[in-house]
């Protein structure tokens, strides 16, 4: 089992929810969808009046930083999964760049045991590709996979040696899990604080060029083709990266990819404010890059939305832009941000967005895709696409509030989350 989470299930009847073009009741018996139809018998279950709200498969986020162990002041398993539940997620994958790094079965087992006690929704833990994410020695990937590692990644510290990456791809064939790669050529991105282009030239901020990512993407795709192994590309940001990916997929490489809400919604123009909550790695890029990401999300080249939820303490982010660490939170605002900035302007259909936030990432990582179907485990959200709300710092369930959306008004709201048969969040 990859996911660990809270025990217990709920019995529930959801009345008059909109499912595709019909209005239905959904009955959940012991955490499983038992019936979908009109005017279902409540059977003594708790009744939730959806009153025309949209019911959809709950979301899956393959890229979350829970900061545990090591930085529990920024996020804990409890706070991070509560934030995920509030964002409509029924499963998330946590990154291993913690302190200590998740590079041994001891650390992994410890986390899984704590998650069974503390997590609000099911969570999977990824493990490092190299010991300490130091890029020198492979972790015991076989034992880690047996202990439940969801995938392998050195996120945040790309494996710089092509030879070692090739070895990791070859060896990983025994695990059946995916390597998830943060592509970055450090000699091109050193000293970079934002996308290298006209805005960085004007602001004087060190540039992090598109090539810093796409060169790494091209390398990893070449290695995947050469070894005939699958891989996953994390948080793509540049048009050139998307083009490399599309070509590799056409050539038969088993390569998947994700994009974040901030890269799908924003461009480097936003950095002019010098607000540290607009500083991420990889950085926000141009409107042309954003268009390429949206196009790839639409045609499925990029099959997953991932938040790259990266909590930072207030004192770390309340500094000059140039001194601030990379990363923003995103779990609690992902759907609303993408609904507001992609669906409402007509760039992406609601149906496509919901698929890329749920079944898309689930399939990539070998998880059961959430479905609204009789017999399926109840992993569902109630959404109010018309609801307008203001993002407030004091309402976050995350322990951190380094969001680019604080104070912004969004349209589209998660009203209820059922994860693995339990009510995990109610607005």
């Amino acid at each position: 089992m990859i996911l660990v989470g809270p025990r217990g299930t709920d019995d529930l009847v959801i009345r008059r929810a909109r499912l595709r073009k019909t209005t239905v009741d959904v009955r959940i018996d012991k955490g499983v969808i038992a019936a979908i139809g009109e005017r279902l018998d409540a059977n003594g279950h708790r009744v939730i009046e959806a009153d025309g709200l949209l019911v959809a498969p709950a979301f899956v986020d393959p890229h979350v930083h829970l900061r545990t162990p090591g930085r529990e002041d920024e996020e804990t398993l409890a706070s991070g999964t509560a934030a995920a539940a509030a964002g409509g997620y029924c499963a998330i994958l946590a990154m291993p760049n913690t302190d200590p790094v998740v590079d041994s079965t001891d650390v992994l087992r410890g986390l899984r045991a704590r998650a069974a006690e503390e997590a609000a929704i099911p969570v999977g833990f990824t493990a490092a590709i190299t010991v300490g994410q130091a890029g020198a020695q492979l972790t015991e990937m076989g034992a880690l996979a047996d202990a439940g590692a969801a995938a392998f990644t050195d996120d945040g510290r790309p494996v710089s040696s092509a030879g070692l990456m090739r070895r990791a791809l070859e060896y990983n064939a025994i695990t059946g899990r995916r390597l998830a790669l943060h592509c970055e050529e450090p000699s091109l991105t050193r000293g970079g604080h934002m996308h290298m282009g006209s805005v960085s030239a004007e602001l004087g901020l060190g540039g992090w060029p598109s090539l810093g990512e796409s060169l790494g993407v091209a390398r990893e795709l070449s290695l995947a083709r050469d070894t005939a192994q699958p891989l996953h590309l994390m948080h793509l940001s540049a048009r050139e990266s998307v083009e490399h990916l599309r070509a590799a997929q056409a050539a038969g490489v088993d390569a998947s990819a994700e994009a974040t809400p901030h890269h799908l919604c924003l461009t480097d123009e936003a950095v002019r404010s010098l607000d540290p909550n607009l500083k991420m790695n990889p950085p926000l890029r141009t409107s042309d890059d954003r268009a390429a990401l949206v196009e790839a999300l639409n045609d499925g080249t990029i099959a997953a939305v991932a938040t790259d939820h990266a909590p930072h303490s207030r004192e770390e982010k309340d500094v000059p832009f140039e001194a601030a660490p990379f990363g923003v939170t995103g779990l609690e605002t992902a759907f609303a941000a993408l609904h507001t900035h992609l669906v409402e302007p007509g760039l992406v259909s609601l149906e496509t967005l919901l698929e890329r936030m749920s079944a898309g990432p689930a399939r990539i990582f070998g998880l059961e895709p959430p479905r609204i179907a009789v017999g399926a485990a109840a992993n569902l959200v109630l959404l109010d696409p018309a609801a307008s709300w203001r993002v407030r710092e004091d309402r976050f369930r995350s322990r951190s509030s380094n969001s680019w959306l604080v104070g912004k008004r969004l349209r589209g709201k998660v009203v209820l989350t059922v994860a693995a048969g339990r009510v995990a969040y109610e607005a």
Partner: protein, 325 residues
């Protein structure tokens, strides 16, 4: 010499201006720039008198926070505030609680307890003035943040060019040297564009961001300029091993501004500090073509104008006084 009178109305508490900060030239309009230059010209007259002090900002507090070394900028801001009768409090990072690990935000909040009207900040990191502006109620003036902006330098440069050539519109300025690491160049390019002047950037390819303005790698191209603006090689801002130029020897052989590379009538400017013999030949620095001393003098009155502009409204004191006279 013009006699200066203080009209009583100028001693009334100044009204809020709506002009909050001076963080970047990018925030200014052409009207803003022209108003600031006109105010500067008025203050220039006041500085020709024996008693150079004006009562305009009496009772106001200007805090200078300098987290990077500075000679010209810190001294001229302090003197500008004093010439306008404001109290000044000059804070230098070394020897303060910054050495004990105090964050910029906490330092700003601590100094805010004295309720300064203006905080002038220089800091090595881009975005530091914006942080202080977010954290305090004071008007914030950016006195240089990393490689980003140095707006009062650009204003004093415009002032110097205007007082020497009598115009700004249509003037052609060649900026020579390390543009990439220069907040002075970033501010000046924007300011020159605002007032209708044109710019060419001249120097080694890796140090010329082509997004900013027209570029040339040939030093001969400075011949077309009315003003040659020379920049220092900012080695302290270059990453080790970055190899922007192979050596300073190769740099000065190709791009040093020498008397032979200038034509008669051209003016030469430099924001200081100069590295004589690297980017500028000492014979040029000390020649009549050099406006370096004019720039320093302009720094005082332009900074007086900036402080005045942020804290007051209405007609400029000296012009009003002259009309009365």
């Amino acid at each position: 010499m013009t006699e200066l009178h203080v009209v009583p109305g100028d001693l009334l508490p100044p009204q809020p201006t709506g002009r909050r900060h001076l963080l970047s030239i990018a925030d200014l309009t052409r009207d803003d720039v022209e108003r600031l230059l006109a105010t500067s010209r008025s203050f220039a007259l006041s500085q020709e008198r024996d008693n150079k002090k004006l009562p305009t900002l009496r009772g106001r507090l200007v805090v200078n926070m300098f987290f990077e070394s500075s000679t010209r900028t810190s001294s001229s801001f302090e003197l500008a505030a004093k010439r306008l009768s404001a109290d000044t409090l000059s804070f230098k990072a070394s020897g303060s609680s910054v050495d004990k690990g105090e964050s910029l935000k906490d330092t700003a909040l601590t100094l805010s307890a004295y309720e300064p009207d203006v905080i002038v900040i220089r800091h090595p990191q881009i975005g530091a003035p914006q942080l202080v502006a977010r954290a305090t109620d004071a008007h914030v003036v950016n006195a240089g943040d990393g490689k980003h902006q140095h707006p009062t330098q650009a204003l004093l440069d415009l002032y110097s060019i205007h007082s020497t050539l009598g115009r700004l519109e249509g003037v052609h300025v060649a900026i020579v040297g390390d543009v990439l690491h220069s907040r002075v160049a970033r501010s000046l390019v924007q300011a020159l564009r605002l007032v209708g002047a044109s710019v060419t950037l001249v120097g080694p390819p890796p140090l010329l961001p082509a997004e900013l303005a027209a570029t040339s790698y040939e030093i001969d191209s400075i011949a077309a300029a009315d003003v040659v603006y020379v920049l220092r090689m900012q080695r302290e801002r270059m990453d080790e091993g970055a190899n922007y130029v192979p050596s300073l020897r190769e740099y000065s052989a190709r791009w040093c501004v020498t008397p032979e590379r200038l034509r008669p009538g051209q003016k030469v400017m430099h924001p200081g500090p100069m590295n004589r013999g690297v980017e500028i030949d000492p014979r040029v620095a000390d020649s009549d073509a050099s406006l370096v001393v004019d720039q320093v003098r302009a720094g005082l009155i332009v900074r007086m104008a900036v402080l005045y502009d942020l804290l007051t409204t209405g007609p400029v004191l000296v012009e009003t006084a002259m009309e009365v006279a």
